[in-house]
Symmetry: C2
Subunit: 337 residues, 2 copies
DNA sequence: GTGAAAGCGCTAACAA
DNA sequence: TTGTTAGCGCTTTCAC
């Protein structure tokens, strides 16, 4: 291991000078800075993370708590995790991965061990057990998703309620009179993950306001679950011409089923998905969609904790405005036969 | 922050005693152990990770390098990452997440900073740039996937060549005479990620040995790419009745396309996927598949590095034997019309 | 079976 | 603009 002391000796300066060159916390003459940087490069020096953390009480690590579940769309989580990691690196931080297997006590462990300077929580439930611990330990944190009580917390999320509204409006604008929301698996609603309920609320409200008959059905990700959900919807309300899907795993199945049922998209039925853009463009026809901005959500979460570490108060909600991109899967409602 | 010294004072023992209670590196009387553990619990003590790393030169962290790409099946990666994290915790270690965005130099940074005691690399390419650095820094590491030169390395992977053989045999046993392998996206082959090429090699060899006409086509994950691939296969060899798919994103599309083309599965065409079990059981019909044991791959990788940290030599390959589970999507070859 | 004390490599006063 | 030095909280030898 190359140490800071060795760099100092090699450059003919004191250890503190090397430290300050690295941290930029005091001004250094151009000449010595050069020599130090030269020595660092020549010796291949990297500061010892533990020593640095011990001396400065800053680990330069952000803990990311991801869910173990696989019933929510995994690629979105992965995109968020990647976005968090690359953004964190850009701020000189690394990311420690924690799974919910460890339970809420992971919060205590991280807070008590100096393992991380901040935490980012994903898959936040309305009554999330980790939140009291967050408050109690006074941890720097950002949440992706909204709990019931957000007081004192910094949260980022897509404005799913607005997404529901946007979806309903799009279908209403196209003249649809009977619409259905094919949602997340039932387990997601049962554990009160906010996003699903908020989408539903927005969709219902606006559908009612626009005078559309509307239905909502949770849906699993398998082909059979999708088939069952679709057939139950069409049984209950055969005139349904507009479908909103908030379950990306069901998307390809739904398109296949409609095709098979002889319902052409978008001529006979419009499909609108709430999903990442790449899912939308990889379908056929390409899907009109409200995109889930995974990259931005991850980035914003990191920016929130970095701001807090810099002393700012970031308490509050960042609700990203949803955007709808019309692609080939939605069109004017067919005239009743 | 509660420190070890405070625990010692509270328990009326010396700091070293507390340390030894924690590490178990020397025998402690039952009485003092109890008192110390009591104090630890009462004060809510957690050892400071940085201090411990500094003093012991062991961070108790494993670095996990994941790819940024999204052209290989993301859920498998996620399952592996989760398996690694939970297994690592079981061994008292945490996981640091690194993306390939940082490039091969991430290896140098981790090795030089004491950030992690070991590294696990995913998405290993045949000529992976990180490997020379691994050798050069003498890092403790495990690879998930096989590079061209595995000398001195510890690797885990599914035996994809055997998987290809197994797939070919299954179709041959069912009497199929013309078969096709619908593979990973072309980019995967171009960057020489070993698994795709190894599957292909095994499949080709055994198909030839069993006297089956065989075709191989790379395939993107979109509906259109799948449709194009399928139609080109059927154009070139209309009598194809057996399909092996090594691209999970294409699976639902392929099933939809076959259905649409009036080819019943498994009566008219057999489909065999190389994919995780849950993808296979969520399709309709459920897919005969060679499973990708993500959980085991992650767990084995952690066990490899833990063994190395304990001083064992784990050099060598662990090739997990593939298992084929017959489900509803494969059956006897139809009699030629 | 237990304690005392010397660092581990770095940061950040304090001094100059 | 730079150097000196006292810790940060833990592990681990050495001593009893």
């Amino acid at each position: 291991m190359v140490t800071l002391a060795q760099v100092a000796r090699h450059a003919g300066v004191s250890p503190s000078t090397v430290s300050y060159v690295l941290s930029g916390k005091r001004s250094i003459s151009e000449a010595t800075r050069r020599r130090v940087e030269q020595s660092i490069a020549e010796l291949g020096y990297h500061p010892h993370a533990g020593a640095r953390a011990l001396a400065s009480s800053r680990s330069h690590v952000i803990a990311l708590m991801i869910p173990l579940r696989t019933d929510i769309y995994v690629p979105v989580m992965m995109d968020i995790a990647i976005s968090i990691t690359t953004t964190a690196r850009r701020h000189g931080h690394d990311v420690l991965l924690l799974t919910s297997e460890e339970g809420p006590s992971a919060v205590k462990r991280v807070a008590g061990s100096g393992l991380a300077d901040a935490m980012i929580l994903m898959d936040v439930e309305l009554a999330d057990e980790r939140i009291p611990l967050l408050r109690q330990t006074g941890s720097v944190a950002a949440l992706i998703g909204l709990p019931a009580d957000t007081s004192g917390l910094s949260c980022v999320d897509l404005d799913f309620e607005a997404a529901g509204v946007l979806a309903a409006d799009h279908l209403a604008d196209l003249g649809h009179r009977e619409v259905a929301l094919i949602g997340a698996p039932e387990t997601v609603y049962r554990r009160h993950t906010g996003f699903a309920e908020r989408t539903l609320a927005g969709f219902r409200r606006r559908a009612a306001e626009r005078g559309m008959a509307h239905l909502h059905r949770p849906c699993g990700g398998s082909h059979e679950a999708t088939a069952g959900t679709l057939s139950r919807i069409l049984e209950e309300r055969p005139g349904t011409t507009g479908f909103v899907v908030q379950n990306e795993a069901a998307v390809p199945h739904l398109l296949g089923l409609l095709r098979q049922a002889g319902r052409a998209v978008p001529e006979d039925a419009s499909v609108l998905a709430i999903c990442p853009d790449d899912v939308a463009v990889h379908s056929s026809p390409q899907l009109t969609s409200v995109s889930i901005p995974a990259e931005e959500m991850g980035r914003r979460a990191v920016e929130l904790v970095m701001a807090q570490l810099a002393g700012e108060d970031t308490t509050g909600l960042i609700l990203l405005a949803p955007t709808l991109t019309a692609r080939g899967s939605s069109g004017p409602a067919p005239h009743p036969a």
